[in-house]
Each structure stands twice: as structure tokens, then as C-alpha cells.
Symmetry: C2
């Protein structure tokens, strides 16, 4: 199964990387950009054919390793 985990800064948490990117985009002429939040995405190939199990597994991976749940949220999507 292919699972996609997205990890992003929680609402209210400062995101200096996103701010820097927003400023750089402004300097490049993208004046319409109001805000940028920068996160990570992990494409995980998990053995097995049980989508529910793969999703639960990926959720544990996010909690244990991929996300810092103090400051980051995450979501999990089984792609195929």
C-alpha cells in the first residue's frame, strides 16, 4: 500500500521557514502571496493489502518519528 503522511506546523506555531519563503516569493514578484506554511510530506510504501491497517500503521509512524506532535500536526492518506 502507498500511504502519504503530511506533517505541518500547528495553527499558532511560528513557522520561520514559511515566513522566509513568503518574503522571497514577494521579492520575486508574487505580490498576491499572503502567507506560506511549510511542511513535509512522506510517501511510504507499506507491505500488505489492508488499507485500514496501513493507515493505522502510518499514524503510529507519524506519532513516533515523522512528526513532533508538540508543534506539528499530521494527516494520513492511503493512496493505493
Amino acid at each position: 500500500m502507498k500511504v502519504e503522511v503530511r506533517v505541518y506546523p500547528k495553527e499558532g506555531v511560528l513557522d520561520p521557514q514559511g515566513k522566509a519563503i513568503a518574503a522571497a516569493l514577494g521579492r520575486l514578484g508574487h505580490q498576491a502571496v499572503r502567507d506560506v506554511r511549510a511542511g513535509k510530506v512522506f510517501f511510504i510504501d507499506v507491505a500488505g493489502a489492508d488499507a485500514k491497517a496501513a493507515e493505522a500503521d502510518a499514524r503510529r509512524m507519524a506519532e513516533e518519528l515523522l512528526a513532533n506532535t508538540v508543534i506539528e500536526g499530521f494527516d494520513v492518506k492511503v493512496v493505493s
Copy 2:
């Protein structure tokens, strides 16, 4: 408009970060993990109400700044 840009290593491009994460997940007991590819995701807030324009704009941002198109692919999705 809220636009989401995902940037990820192209097929065939070495992804040492993904490899390191896959190995770490294995050590944590996630034996079912076969492969991990690590990418980035940017949540961009763009002024205006034209979804087509926002998407085209985000595509230019990806090409100019967010992605290194030599080694990275990207996709753009208008969320709202």
C-alpha cells in the same frame, strides 16, 4: 485562495533522507515499511478569487523557488 504545492524527489533520484527514515522506522519495529520518499509541502495563501490564476501562479512559484526541477517534481492543488 489556499493552494497546496507538494515537492518530491523525481523517480530515480537518490533520496537519502527517505532512506534514513525508512531505516529508522524499521528499527522502531515497522517491519512492513518497504520504502520512504521524503518531500515538502507548502500551504500558500494567495489573494484573489480566481482558482485558475492561483494555480498558474503557484506553478510559477514552484518553478522559480519551491522546487529544484532538475531533481524534484511538484504538483499544485487549489484547496479553497
